[in-house]
Symmetry: C2
Subunit: 409 residues, 2 copies
Amino acid sequence: MGARPDELARHYQDALLNDVIPFWERHSIDRECGGYFTCLDRRGNVYDTDKFIWLQARQVWMFSALYNRLEKRPEWLDIARHGADFLRRHGSDDDCSWYFSLDRQGNPLVEPYNIFSDCFAAMAFSQYALAAGDEEAKRLAQTTFQNILRRRDNPKGRYSKAVPGTRPLRSLALPMILANLVLELEWALDPGQVAGTIDACLREVMTLCLDEERMLLFEHVAPDGSHVDCFDGRLICPGHGIEAMWFIMDLAGRRGELFDPRATKNSPPKDGEALVEKAVDVVMSTLEFGWDKECGGIFYFMDADGRPPEKLEWDQKLWWVHLEALVALVMGYSLTRRQECWEWFETVHDYAWERFPDPEYGEWFGYLSREGNVFLPLKGGKWKGCFHVPRALWRCSEELSKLPDDVQS
Amino acid sequence: MGARPDELARHYQDALLNDVIPFWERHSIDRECGGYFTCLDRRGNVYDTDKFIWLQARQVWMFSALYNRLEKRPEWLDIARHGADFLRRHGSDDDCSWYFSLDRQGNPLVEPYNIFSDCFAAMAFSQYALAAGDEEAKRLAQTTFQNILRRRDNPKGRYSKAVPGTRPLRSLALPMILANLVLELEWALDPGQVAGTIDACLREVMTLCLDEERMLLFEHVAPDGSHVDCFDGRLICPGHGIEAMWFIMDLAGRRGELFDPRATKNSPPKDGEALVEKAVDVVMSTLEFGWDKECGGIFYFMDADGRPPEKLEWDQKLWWVHLEALVALVMGYSLTRRQECWEWFETVHDYAWERFPDPEYGEWFGYLSREGNVFLPLKGGKWKGCFHVPRALWRCSEELSKLPDDVQS
């Protein structure tokens, strides 16, 4: 690579503003029924019209955030409102629990079994409330957030298939997402609740789910943080772990002092700086563990002990994994100036930019085989929407533009 | 290929008796806690000890069936009893609903949400009852079968996430499995119930789920058999469709006369012979559709309209898909003598035998990439056990041994 940070910052911002965002502006707006199309093929043609709450909410968040934090373009606020109105009208049941999916018209298809639908809805309405000065949106974000906290110890509720008691597990996913969400909603929450939630998230992510010897985050652990020898208990998702670490760096920068070291094993860091160093350590060891030495790229799922993973997609290379790694690495470098962060940033940057973007039709491909070939030529689907690509391009360009020119690996 | 049917019959039987069955005899018996280990790595070492009801039951069935239909080896009956005792002790709740999985000791891990656990349990206890002359096993098979019929219109029960009414779908999987199961249990059921179940299965598989223009089986259709334009509604699983067709050939050979043509659209075949021809037509068109013209092998999942499939594993080549195709093709040839059946049999045989078997450590690999390379070097796991490989080797050798010597493609 060898490019200077300011050149890179322009490169990332150019891709954001002149390629990725225009792709979604052009192809994703459902002017007839409201909301967004997210199932877009390589050229941007709609190949399925169902509406998945995760992706509807994430796009509302994305356009609201661009409006709030990058530039007050009225068309961005319009697009955010277009999705927020659809979600408000159709997205939740009477208890303000968010469905998983709707049909094109907004009729509910899949029940509110998935707490992350609620997480992304809260994130969307909070950011949109700031953009539009919309008090009802703010209340919707607040109510949804309280619902999430109430459900957090049993997030799947009646849909849980685990027999109670046999093998209790705690999971990384929810505290990790909450670590990000609580900062998103901080402006609309009681400060005591913010502090308590941050404290709990830090404990669950950095102590419970973190194996301090291997410096790897496990997706599932026993309630005391020990490992459970089963498929779920051995599961490592490098992309998840790395993404969680930049959420933690965000927290550390603003809330490091809130972390209570007495609640943990092995004296974790007490202050923001030590927490950032630890988060970067985890990013480094996760990349060492999750990088495919043979073909390049970061594996999707791995077994901590090297046994055969359960998931058939384990060796695929996914867009979001690489984008989250870029954000974590540039943030890690910016906060610690550790040389290895910059070296890894260059490695992941080169891998990703060579393979994921589609100069011909815009946006990024999402799904590469182990060898790095596109095996699903879509730009959006049930899980890929207007979120990871623009969020990462924006965060990276922002962080890169703050770096001095003399970075050299 | 070009081998003679009698040579091929010996080849399949040799693999069954001197490679595959010994692998499971040697590695899968849990002498300490009962039941079987199914998570076996390439060499047969146990890498996970959880016990999945599908696989426990299928192995009980397999060893019982070999004992009943191939050779009365006492050690086969012992192995079947070893699993049947474990299942009887731990596998079901008080309502005789079968859990999805247990831990090594037999403590329930995952609730009885999956009706196919019940299907394979019924199949296991029926075949075991015949082998062991065990009346209690027979009653268990009968009770479980009645449970399945009672649950069949709402198989997921309280675990269903579909919002009732918005998009009702009928699925291929259950009637397809029932078509096989009802013949397995015929000896223990009321003949009127057998006839009624066969009639319903034929209607659902050969009329409701079958697209008569494309001659493809859809995994999900509207209640009137029309197509629904969504991910589920466009889903084709060629392996499923082909496996269903040899179940139908089995039915046609014994029960063709029971099929009521008045209950269907477009006058379906009324007799066994026409039903077999139709089943073979479906096998042919499914292979034409599902065969990977570039790399060889049969795709795992496809979108009927060529849009991007939802499932990330869509282009992988799975052991069971190819084995079920071999059974369907040799049966189809045996019953119709259609030359194209034999040609496809040779094509699939050559593809599968070149890539799936592991001469070094025995048994077959399960999971190949699109290009045909092993990407999960396990011999058994959460979904692969002692079932598809031995069942297909046995059925093929049986059918091949009945063919005349002059088959030539």
